[in-house]
Amino acid sequence: MIAEEALVVATSLRKTYPIYGGTFIKRRTGTVHAVDDVSFAIRRGETLGLVGESGCGKSTTGRLLMRLIEPDGGSVRFDGVEMTTLDRRRLNEERRRIQLMFQDPSSAFNPRMRVGQIVSEPMRLAGAPDRAQRARVAELLPLVGLTEEQAERFPHQFSGGQRQRIGIARALALRPEMIVCDEPVSALDVSIQAQVVNLLQDLQQQFGLTYLFISHDLRVVRHIADRVAVMYLGRIVELAPKAELYGSPQHPYTRMLLSAVPKTKPGATRTPTAAAGEAGPAPGGRQGCLFAPRCPHVMPRCRDEIPAFRPVADRHSAACHLLG
């Protein structure tokens, strides 16, 4: 990816957390590598899907991108501006251009605030006058399929799908260029999921939005993303345009992940036991390939040499010794 056309470029992002142990005296007994040397770029108007199983670091990556969590290393350039070294004031300004959408918006809403206040809260914090806030709310609610009158209601008066629409309206309030969508449809029923996915796509078209779409749902990501990155235990193991990634997955983990998705055509069954083991800390530490303990093709080299993340085809990269 050429840096000029990218809206956001993350390079070697790193975040670790200490583990404390001990019965009486707590002391540091280890380190969790939540995000470990993660690099990617997203073009303006593009949707990058970020998939992986729980604990793989996909949500942490999204938060590092917005500097909601301070990285331990690496850089994030947003539209040419280095985010990791900005002071508070400048950071708050830049951060208006990137918004976050949560899985369960109601946990992010104040239940005693009316929908209108919830949607306009980012504007209030940015110091916009009341009139401008009200006008923007009147504009936003119809945009996400709600009515202007619903601004007076409270979040509990809405269904899950409608609450997610309120979350989208709030994310749009400051006219961001990019939205980090963290499992935006995972808590919704399938019939409602489709409505929200369609809405996100319409808004992207209308405003030229850029999405980082974090999800464990490989079907939804296949539908909405342009390119997809697969994470495993804090590292990106494969990144490719979606047709490539789903059509000819190269990394053994990607293959395992895709083969585990239940097919909705009866008769077209999975190959049993294609998926084996569970994600967990590699017994040999982090110097080798982290997938080695579960990998059906593991070689001696995989256990002590980190596979480089390198191109395997046009715009398609993977980190596996088999592909070197």
Binding site: D189, S191, Q193, Q201
Partner: protein, 336 residues
């Protein structure tokens, strides 16, 4: 024990007009309304629906786990010849965990955090099968090996918090199959798990089911899990059964517009589609159901009759039932 010598043709479980009403203050809410289905011996029925469809209430009613103070249960649940709805609680306790057991979505809620894995698996063995301490422990280790837990002997002395989510669900399954029940009710058994773990648990359940000849009622919102796992499917909407047939027919030729709509909502995994086709509107609240078909307000095929009368679940083809006055044409192929 169970009356023996029932003919093979009699279904193991036969549910007729099962209705559950919850009382809350002066109001009564009908959570499930005249639900009927059969589960043949050794087969899998998928019970599928969205939130509020009544699938979990159905499971709890079958297990008689709803408190009589709160819930009023009507209808018939014939299990191996006996009506569980009418069974005295003492006798029900001898059925539950012995011939009929349940797997819940969240393993941590069905495991006791302060009892060792071994003690928890031994409990049904000692209670129902009358095994002694040593025999129960040996059998518990065997069961852990059956659900593919490595080092089963050592695990017996561990506690739930020491295991991963997938391992905990394996322990729950080991407890459920401990007395080799004839029927397992699995309520979203893989929903809390990652997809690669889900695949392993489904493989395990399928393997155990064929080895032990158990029947399973698989309750899920995931159409993929149903397509893969079930022989027959009952689709539920707002507390009522709306379609019932062999899995191939439900997925290949859905007749109820809700089933058809649900299948179209799942993003394609093979082809390419520009846009998902969602279902407009939302699932109605059970306290405020429309007078006729509960799906009518969201249905593109709804006519005047749908808004007045609740359609019965009637045959639309041999062995295929749908509760709809204006079902989809048979020729219609929906390929998700």
């Amino acid at each position: 024990m169970m009356p023996a010598a029932l003919s093979e043709a009699t279904p193991l479980l036969s549910v007729r007009d099962l209705t559950v009403r919850f009382r809350s203050g002066r109001e009564t809410v009908t959570a499930i309304d005249r639900v009927s289905f059969d589960v043949p011996r050794g087969r899998v029925l998928g019970l599928v629906g969205e939130s509020g469809s009544g699938k979990s209430v159905t499971a709890l009613a079958l297990m008689r786990l709803l408190s009589p103070d709160m819930a009023e249960i009507a209808g018939e649940v014939r299990f191996d010849g006996r009506d569980l709805v009418a069974l005295p609680e003492g006798e029900m306790r001898r059925v539950r965990g012995r011939h009929l057991s349940m797997i819940f979505q969240e393993p941590m809620t069905s495991l006791n955090p302060i009892a060792s894995i071994g003690n928890q698996i031994c409990e049904p063995l000692r209670l129902h099968l009358g095994l002694g301490r040593k025999a129960a422990r040996d059998r518990a280790a065997e069961l852990l090996a059956m659900v593919a837990i490595p080092e089963p002997r050592r695990r017996l002395d561990q506690y739930p918090h020491e295991l991963s989510g997938g391992m905990r669900q394996r322990v729950v399954i080991a407890m459920a199959i401990a007395c080799e029940p004839r029927l397992i009710i699995a309520d979203e058994p893989t929903t809390a798990l990652d997809v690669t773990t889900q695949a392993q648990i489904l493989d395990l359940l399928r393997d155990l089911q064929s080895r032990l000849g158990m029947a399973i009622v698989m309750i899920t919102h995931d159409l993929g899990v149903v397509a893969e796992f079930a022989d027959h499917v009952q689709v539920m909407y707002a507390g009522r059964g709306v379609e019932r047939a062999a899995v191939r027919d439900v997925f290949g030729h859905p007749r109820h517009p809700y089933t058809g709509g649900l299948l179209r909502c799942i993003p394609d995994f093979d082809g390419d589609q520009d846009r998902l086709v969602g279902i407009d509107g939302t699932v109605p609240s059970l306290t405020n159901l429309p007078p006729g078909c509960a799906y009518a307000p969201r249905c593109e095929r709804a006519q005047d009759d749908c808004r007045i009368v609740v359609p019965d679940l009637e045959a639309v083809a041999p062995a295929h039932r749908a509760a709809c006055f204006h079902p989809l044409e048979f020729a219609r192929e929906v390929s998700p």
